[in-house]
Symmetry: C2
Subunit: 414 residues, 2 copies
């Protein structure tokens, strides 16, 4: 049950220079697409951010190596679901390299020009024979219109494929397209990037700016979500530019085209990141925790994550019970040692209305329990927190914690 999220394959736009193919390789389950190849035309570049988990997956290590070796000039991505190829030691690394070599051979490129990605169960070996057998089938289906199939083929416990497109018309009259897909529903507390997120554009983007841009955008999208606070071993977010269309975008502060491209990329990344939360395991509510008035962005994020990850806040959200003292408790333990709680104000809002819940270290005099009850019935909520000590702000997106979260995660492997 995803919150306000539907799959609209008909809106997805092809990106010149990008073709996608999928197949059923039988990696973990029969009769489901689980292997994706994305082929990029010559001249394309890519930049990525990856998990900071020390037990990072073998494909994450190989991605970092290959991006460094090629300076981002990659020609293909290969993605399997079912098995994460994490906690797999030396054999896992060898399997990731073998996968890249097989894709390279099928496409007539070199192995370092291929980036590998895996998602699924940790600590189990990648069934490499099945992956290798599937690669020619996936390559045989390569098509510019393969985005919808790819969005489906990278899912694990996701209930809805996540994909969207944006277009930007630039000053020279050209129109560039951005299309992206993402996956993830559990083990979601990205640290540098999400479970898996891919965005491609035909824009001409300076490679140095793309490197910086992918980090900036991740920080305000995939790095601002949480489902359960568990940082995955496989988080990867990659932006591809096939360099086909429009003026070269260098990211200069005065360049309107760069600004507009950045805005479209950020909007698309935020949509894809929020889609992961909307489809969070067992989610029945989509919640923004918006923190203002901090001394710096870091402490705003700290408070946002403390509230967004509190099991007590999340179960109260599930129950639509305005047990809002739990929010104060989470703000209080977020780690700001010199926080003056008398300066903190907390509001609860939905799309229609907002109410001040707490101020002066206690319940706001104007707060009525009936208002809290009514507002919390909505399936999209904002918890707004003003720390009252500065000008910085940050938002974290999350979902509630339901019976189904426990059910899904108690049964995941069976």
């Amino acid at each position: 049950m995803a919150v306000g999220l539907t799959f609209q394959p008909e809106i997805l736009q092809a990106v010149p220079g990008v073709r996608l193919g999928v197949t059923e390789a039988g990696i973990r389950k029969a009769n489901r697409r689980d292997l994706t190849v994305i082929a990029l035309d010559p001249g394309s570049i890519a930049a990525g951010v990856f998990t900071q988990n020390r037990f990072c997956a073998a494909p994450v290590r190989v991605c970092r190596e290959h991006l460094a070796a090629t300076g981002g000039k990659v020609r293909a991505l290969v993605i399997n679901t079912g098995v994460a190829n994490a906690g797999t030691g030396a054999q896992g690394l060898a399997d990731a390299r073998t996968t890249c070599a097989a894709v390279a051979e099928a496409l007539g490129v070199t192995a370092t020009e291929v980036l590998p990605f895996s998602t699924g169960v940790i600590l189990e070996p990648l069934p490499i024979a099945k992956v290798l057998a599937g690669i020619p089938d996936a390559v045989a289906t390569l098509s510019p219109t393969g985005w919808a199939h790819a969005a489906e083929a990278i899912m694990t416990t996701d209930t809805v494929p996540k994909a969207a497109s944006r277009t930007v018309t630039l000053s020279d009259g050209s129109t560039v397209t951005l299309t992206g897909i993402s996956k993830g529903a559990g083990m979601i507390r990205p640290n540098m990037a999400t479970m898996l997120g891919f965005i491609a554009t035909d824009a001409r983007v300076d490679p140095h700016w793309l490197e910086a841009l992918v980090r900036e955008v991740a920080d305000e999208s995939f790095n601002a979500i949480t489902v359960d606070g568990d940082t995955s071993t496989n988080d990867s977010f990659v932006v591809i530019a096939t360099q086909r269309t429009g003026p070269l975008l260098r990211g200069n502060a005065t360049c309107t085209d760069s600004r507009r491209f950045r805005e479209a990329l950020l909007a698309l990344a935020q949509w894809l990141a929020q889609a992961i939360v909307r489809d969070g395991e067992g989610a029945t509510k989509f919640v923004a925790v918006s923190v203002t008035g901090g001394k710096d962005r870091g402490e705003c994020r700290q408070v946002g994550y403390a509230v967004a990850q509190s099991p007590l806040v999340k179960t109260a959200l599930f129950a639509s019970d305005p047990n809002l003292g739990r929010i104060l408790a989470a703000i209080g333990y977020a780690g700001i040692a010199d926080l003056d709680v008398t300066g903190v104000r907390v509001w609860l809002a939905n799309a229609e209305e907002e109410t001040l819940v707490a101020e002066q270290g206690g319940r706001a005099a104007s707060y009525q329990e009936a208002d809290g009850v009514r507002i919390m019935k909505a399936d999209a909520l904002t918890i707004r927190i003003d720390l009252g000590r500065g000008d910085a702000a940050a938002t974290v997106w999350t979902c509630d914690f339901s019976y189904d979260y426990v059910k899904i995660n108690a049964e995941y492997r069976s």
Copy 2:
């Protein structure tokens, strides 16, 4: 459903100099004991540690003030359940002081000699009239044998009262008694102390040593447990010494009596802290996460808490599913930036057997899924982690994450 925890009121021993009384004050629910007064004979001293939550409750602030004002020479404790008196601003502080004054008047002591404690719902005003009306009734029932009633009267979502006694025979032939009670089942991730824990002894303990001792003992007991990772606004752990019996204990390194007293106090505090985890909301398993081989105790605790608080690890424990990659993921994101994962080893154990699960960055060659399945069926488990980089160690105790945790916390106020 508490894991391996029963209430044995018959084993509780009176502590000379300590009397306890309880009553039904109707603070939140009818027909339940919810107000406790503990009266201490002249000459008693107390030391406490309290929550680090910035939204700390009004009674916690008053406790700190009164302990400072009296140098620990306190004469009474007053504890209400039902309402936490946290997030209650200036009125909450006034209510806590009024409560102390009323207890002081009833006992013929001064208000600063009274320590107040509250537990229950945050952000709701303390019904001060009901508290004041109840105090004479509680005082009227004061008795040295009131420990069992007090253990019941401080419960909130606890399903089992938590109380135990220890005795130590000292070198002069005297025997000192230690009896303690605790409460807590949710919002448990104490930071300096637990929800509520009280231990009293008739031993003669030097006040300076008692101050140090309460911190040391809290660090290895109440500060080493987690149910849901939420640090409460009301955490308080207090040790009382009525100074009646035996030689003066100063805590000198060479003093056998001090060492034996410390061991008994630590054992009792650990029992009371572990009882909170065994009665953790919805708990079906009691789990020790034992981390060795760290560079310092801090990083061992960091890893222990990352594993113990991971919702994915906790739901796998609930399901008795050895989805052990989730443990590796939690170790990997625990925040040790230079952790070499090839040096990490992980074992799974119950009372009967232990199996090596992971080493060299991946699954141990000897590990058999059937072993993991069999071991995980026990209701008491140890996850043993060797970081392979030093000599420090720490243990964190936790429970699993079940449907009932969500149910209890979605329904708590109703």
